[in-house]
């Protein structure tokens, strides 16, 4: 099958001389469409940097990131931003919800930014799946961590991106909520045919993935 997400000889170093950190060191990974891949590694192993490159949030020193066969870093910044909004949904450890917007407004925000019309039926379907249909008017501040992460998941899914990138999505949650959130995430991406790349240091969570990509010192040691 053709890869939906691919890196070719990706390199990103920080600092110089004695302080040189090889965050990503000639890394090649490949993710197939519909796959749930877990990127596992200790903190500081370069996995977050890798996710930022995959999502076009940060430019590499050299190498390529191909999304659906297209080199995303050949796009200009503004075009890259549009591409990112359409193709990629992000889920972060710290939820990153807008505190002054309610649950529904947060979920449809990226669609609005893109000037597209909200497919209410589809978004409501997601909202029902994540079990937030009775909290649509609540503000993020009044929700628990688990609930906020559910909203963040819905937001990432709502704009129908082909790829979901999740950076330690359960890092701030207790173990029961963690299991629940990952179950939800897995279920949703399967349902909607999306591709999920999730970064985690927790191997339990990684078990639920179709495949594990283990990163050490910026290099893929097992995949």
């Amino acid at each position: 099958m053709k890869a939906i997400l691919e890196t070719k000889d990706l390199v990103k170093y920080y600092g110089s001389g004695d302080n040189l950190v090889k965050a990503i060191d000639h890394t090649d990974i490949r993710v197939e469409p519909g796959e749930f891949a877990a990127v596992v590694g200790r903190s500081g192993s370069g996995k977050s940097t890798l996710l930022h490159m995959l999502g076009g949030l940060d430019r590499p020193d050299s190498g390529k990131v191909l999304v659906e066969g297209r080199d995303i870093f050949r796009l200009k910044d503004d075009r890259l931003a549009v591409f990112r909004r359409r193709k990629i949904g992000f889920i972060f450890q710290s939820y990153n919800l807008v505190p002054s917007l309610n649950v529904w407004e947060n979920i449809v925000l990226p669609i609005g930014l893109d000037g597209r019309k909200v497919d209410r039926e589809y978004v409501m379907d997601i909202v029902r799946k994540i079990g937030m249909s009775d909290r649509l008017h609540a503000l993020p501040g009044t929700l628990s961590g688990g609930q906020q992460q559910r909203v963040a998941i819905a937001r990432a899914l709502a704009s129908r991106p082909a790829i979901i990138l999740a950076d330690e999505p359960t890092g701030n949650l207790d173990s029961r909520t963690e299991i629940e959130v990952v179950s939800l995430l897995k279920h949703c991406v399967t349902e909607y045919g999306q591709t999920l790349v999730m970064i985690t240091h927790d191997e339990t969570i990684a078990q639920m993935a179709d495949r594990m990509i283990v990163i050490e010192d910026g290099k893929v040691v097992r995949s």
């Binding site: 099958m1 029961r176 629940e180 179950s183 399967t190 045919g193």
Partner: protein, 380 residues
């Protein structure tokens, strides 16, 4: 689409005719005004000098024309003498009315055109969005199909190789049994030797039994074998079914299975297959945990899921192997696992049955060094 096009053409033609009609009306009105002006002038002139009637008529109708520069000059001088300039002329007569009317029509026409263009652009945009949406939907479907196809192909390949493998494994105990019986038939054995042979034979039969069980489990993997019939049913009954399946083996090994009290929850699932999925986890615990230990089951309700935890007091699973035990045909590397017969299908089947129902399974380290399997099933 076709009727829409026709409608648009009809609308444009209607507008055109309307414009034409308004233009004609304005022209006609201007002509009448001009004619009335001439009549008024004729009447006024004739009243002043009735005898020059024919000359005035000639001038006003354009039959008598002073066709020279001097005439224009002389006339202009005369008119200006009485304070009538070019400016005053443009304010009278039919001209302003006509020009104003025309401008109005033009503006209205332009506005209508702009409106139409905007409307059609919006229609086109909507159509494009719809097309994009359908294309994405199609892509989702394609991805799902491709994934399934690839999975099926791989599955087929792996199943074939495992069948070959187990078939080979079957030969060993059969050959060993055959040899045992032949020796027993042909040789006089001491009581001690007979006992030794019996023990060996029982082991061989057990081994055969395990291999056969592996075959049965594998047959369930065959395409389309797992047909889930989800229904809303209590978790308690399903769990009871799973425990009942593992009970006999557990009693044999003096392992107790205890379930913590919980309030029953109804979830949409296939009770039969789900019981099999949980049963495989229990079997696994019974198989590897030492005699006299306990397997405890705990059920708790999460927001959108029911969580079932199965914890044993067995040897546990090394961290590096944990992600792999749910892979098809994966067998643990530990000595105890190597010795026990198995196909590596059970836990894979568990994962597949649960995931097909929107649930998950994973394994953690238990509190006593054993394994804790965590199963989730969606409530809806």
């Amino acid at each position: 689409m076709d009727t829409g096009k026709r409608k648009r053409i009809a609308l444009a033609a209607g507008l055109f005719f309307l414009t034409l009609l308004a233009g004609l009306f304005l022209t006609e009105r201007a002509a009448r005004q001009e004619y009335e002006n001439t009549a008024r002038q004729m009447a006024a002139l004739t009243r002043q000098a009735p005898e020059e009637e024919a000359v005035f008529a000639g001038i006003l109708t354009g039959k008598i024309v002073e066709d020279s520069e001097d005439a224009v000059k002389a006339g202009t001088e005369l008119l200006e003498k009485y304070g009538y300039g070019l400016k005053d002329s443009s304010g009278t007569g039919a001209l302003p009315g006509m020009a104003g009317g025309m401008a109005l029509i033009l503006a209205a026409g332009l506005a209508a055109c702009a409106g139409l263009a905007w409307h059609s652009m919006r229609l086109k945009r909507e159509a494009r969005e719809r097309a994009d949406y359908l294309e994405e939907k199609l892509k989702e479907e394609t991805v799902r199909n491709q994934k399934m196809e690839a999975e099926l192909r791989r599955e087929e390949q792996e199943t074939k190789s495992l069948i070959t493998d187990i078939s080979h494994q079957l030969k060993t105990p059969v050959a060993s049994l055959k040899m045992s019986y032949e020796i027993e038939d042909s040789t006089e054995l001491s009581a001690e030797e007979t006992e030794e042979f019996r023990r060996k034979e029982r082991e061989d039969v057990e081994r055969l039994e395990h291999l056969l069980q592996a075959f049965t489990q594998m047959s369930k993997l065959e395409t389309g074998m797992i047909r889930l019939k989800p229904e809303k049913a209590g978790v308690k009954a399903t769990l009871a079914r799973a425990v009942a399946g593992a009970y006999a083996k557990a009693v044999d090994k003096k392992i107790s299975i205890e379930t913590e009290e919980f309030t029953d929850v109804a979830v949409v699932h296939d009770p039969g297959w789900t019981a099999e999925a949980i049963g495989n986890v229990l079997d696994n615990g019974v198989k590897y945990a030492p005699a006299g230990t306990c397997i405890s089951i705990r059920v708790s309700e999460l927001v959108s899921y029911v969580m079932i935890e199965v914890e044993d007091e067995g040897p546990g699973i090394p961290a590096e192997e944990q992600p792999r035990i749910f892979q098809r045909f994966y067998r643990g590397k530990a000595e105890a696992v190597r010795k026990a017969e198995g196909s590596g299908v059970g836990l894979y089947l568990t994962r597949r049955i649960l995931e097909e129902q929107g649930g998950t399974v994973c394994v953690k380290n238990g509190r006593t060094g054993g394994s804790k399997f965590v199963i989730t099933l969606p409530k809806e």
